[in-house]
């Protein structure tokens, strides 16, 4: 029995996620496994890594976020610590250590301060220097940053609720139960919050009072925020590889298509093309009007891709495969490689 337990202990299921990517004026930041990297946007060469050498006690998957004053890069870790880094050098400026669980999702950084969602179900509001201001606790983990509008923050939780909070005090203004876990932030467009649910639905909620306007069933779990498509549509993908264009006013399906492998990360829209990455390691380009597949590229032979593609207008697309030696690739809008970032191993 002891042997079985030792074997069980050794075969721990990896507590992982997929690379978190964010883009600055000249730099791309990627949080992946034991380090956060600042990568030159034009060349894919690393400027710095934090920590300098991989540290087994630290794990990062949440996309780093630059504060509006450009002075601090904020990233949360699986060690329950929120780090404020110097964006130029990667040097640690401050830490916030009061959270009880991991930081899964990125923070929201505004001029008012930092809002850090945590796996312990608490949204920590901090100053830009990392000093606590207030907290709000939901009934389950928070994996997504709040979305701001004026004095209100809209917060999605795995506890099935969408919350509206006062941004200055953290006071709850309303909540609505959508009967399914909400792993990603809502998308706020013209006073309506659109959100994907693990309960195989996409929902629209009036931001003013939390009234549910519509809920459209889809085939499988939706892991990401709905993405605006044109003036009046949204695009979402589900875990079974269906991609849908929905009308924003009533949730009706405009078109639907299927790609190989599940879609976990949010699609990206550029001109008249919708790009999706899939767990089959593919980057797929769809016609935004019809959903027809224009082309697809096998980005990685072995790795899955859970993170959604990121459009960088003056570069192309950033794609971040999971469990690959190169956690960040830049491709042009035809899917041809521009550069590949490979972290240096010591």
């Amino acid at each position: 029995m002891a042997l079985a337990l030792v074997v069980a202990g050794c075969s721990r299921i990896a507590p992982g996620s997929w690379p978190g990517v964010s883009v600055g004026p000249d730099t791309v930041w990627v949080a992946y496994q034991q380090q956060v990297f600042a990568v030159d946007k034009a060349t894919g060469v690393a400027h710095w890594a934090f920590p300098l050498q991989p540290d087994r006690k630290k794990t990062f998957f949440a996309a780093p976020q630059l504060t509006p004053d450009g002075q601090t890069l904020v990233v949360g870790g699986y060690d329950n610590v929120l780090y404020g880094l110097d964006p130029a050098t990667g040097a640690q400026k401050w830490t916030f250590t009061e959270a009880q669980d991991r930081y899964i999702g990125p923070v929201l950084a505004t001029e008012q301060g930092i809002y850090a969602p945590n796996g312990d179900g608490t949204l920590y509001a901090l100053t830009l220097q990392g000093t606590p201001r207030w907290t709000f606790t939901a009934e389950a983990a928070l994996w997504a940053p709040p979305v701001p509008e004026g004095e209100t923050l809209y917060l999605a939780s795995l506890d099935h609720h969408l919350y509206a909070l006062n941004a200055t005090t953290g006071q709850e203004q309303w909540r609505v139960n959508l009967e399914g876990a909400l792993p990603a932030a809502p998308t706020l467009l013209d006073g309506v919050l659109y959100v994907g649910e693990l309960a195989t639905e996409v929902a629209a909620v009036r931001a003013a009072d939390g009234t549910v306007l519509w809920q459209t069933p889809v085939a499988a779990w939706v892991w990401h925020s709905p993405v605006p498509l044109g003036d009046d549509q949204l695009v979402v993908g589900d875990m079974d590889g269906h991609v849908y264009a929905l009308r924003r006013d009533d949730g009706g399906i405009v078109w639907q298509t299927q790609v190989e492998g599940g879609v976990i990360g949010a699609p990206a829209v550029h001109d008249d093309t919708v790009f999706v990455t899939t767990r089959a390691g593919l980057l797929v380009a769809l016609n935004a009007s019809s959903g027809a597949v224009r082309w697809q590229r096998q980005v990685h032979q072995e790795a899955t891709i859970e993170a959604g593609p990121v459009v960088v207008p003056d570069l192309g697309l950033l794609v971040a495969p999971s469990d690959a030696g190169n956690p960040l690739l830049a491709l042009d809008f035809e899917g041809q490689p521009i550069w590949s970032f490979v972290p240096q191993k010591k």
């Binding site: 029995m1 337990l5 202990g9 299921i13 996620s17 991991r102 899964i104 506890d159 649910e197 859970e306």
Partner: protein
Amino acid sequence: MWTTLVVQPMLNLLLWIYSLVGNFGVAIIVFTILVRLLLAPLMHKQTKSAEAMRKLQEHPKWKEIQRKYKNDRERLAQEQMKLYSELGVNPFASCLPMLVQIPIIFGLYQAVILALGNTPAQLLELARLLYPALNPSRLIPINGQFLWMNLAYPERLHIPGLPFGIPVMAILVALTSYIQSKAVATTTPSTGEGQQAQAMNQMMTMYMPLMLGYFALTFQSGLALYFLTSNLVMIAQYALMGKLSWDDLKFWRR
């Protein structure tokens, strides 16, 4: 194969119980009692086999071959095996319940981690393994809170004023494992040779509780809850069979 045959059914059974009782800690307890009930016939067989072994070791023929071949291990083993088959005793029957437990513990360990998945990758894996009949999207996220514990993490009880957390579950697991091992040791005779096997039994009685206590200290408290419930049910089973004597539990007794 392992996942499909062991982990997946166990995970879905656990979550089905969870969907009925609404508490993952209670689900683990109910699951453990079910497992113990399923293993009860094996345990009964083990006890009977242990009694047969004890009787065999008091048999004149057994004593005779021990004396006669005490310097010839190979021959002694041959004669012992001959005697086992002559008297219809299976020396390995008492190991069976223990062996059956191994895949259960292994599977439960993975099922608990998967069910309480608190990272996106774990939740993706969970989604893949859930049977559609469970209506999994409504069950997610699983509430891992039970009493003072988060079952997805190692347990510590934090008392105001104390600068450290007390590993209550690890202590209880070690204690009940000791009682349970002692009960097994007193009902299960050694199948090996005399004093050496006896010493081995005593060592197991001391080290197994320490080892399980260490696992309860470092692994998810959901697993510690399984150990504790399992130990308590086994102790109750031994007590019901009249095999538990408080005198035997005194560790200073030889």
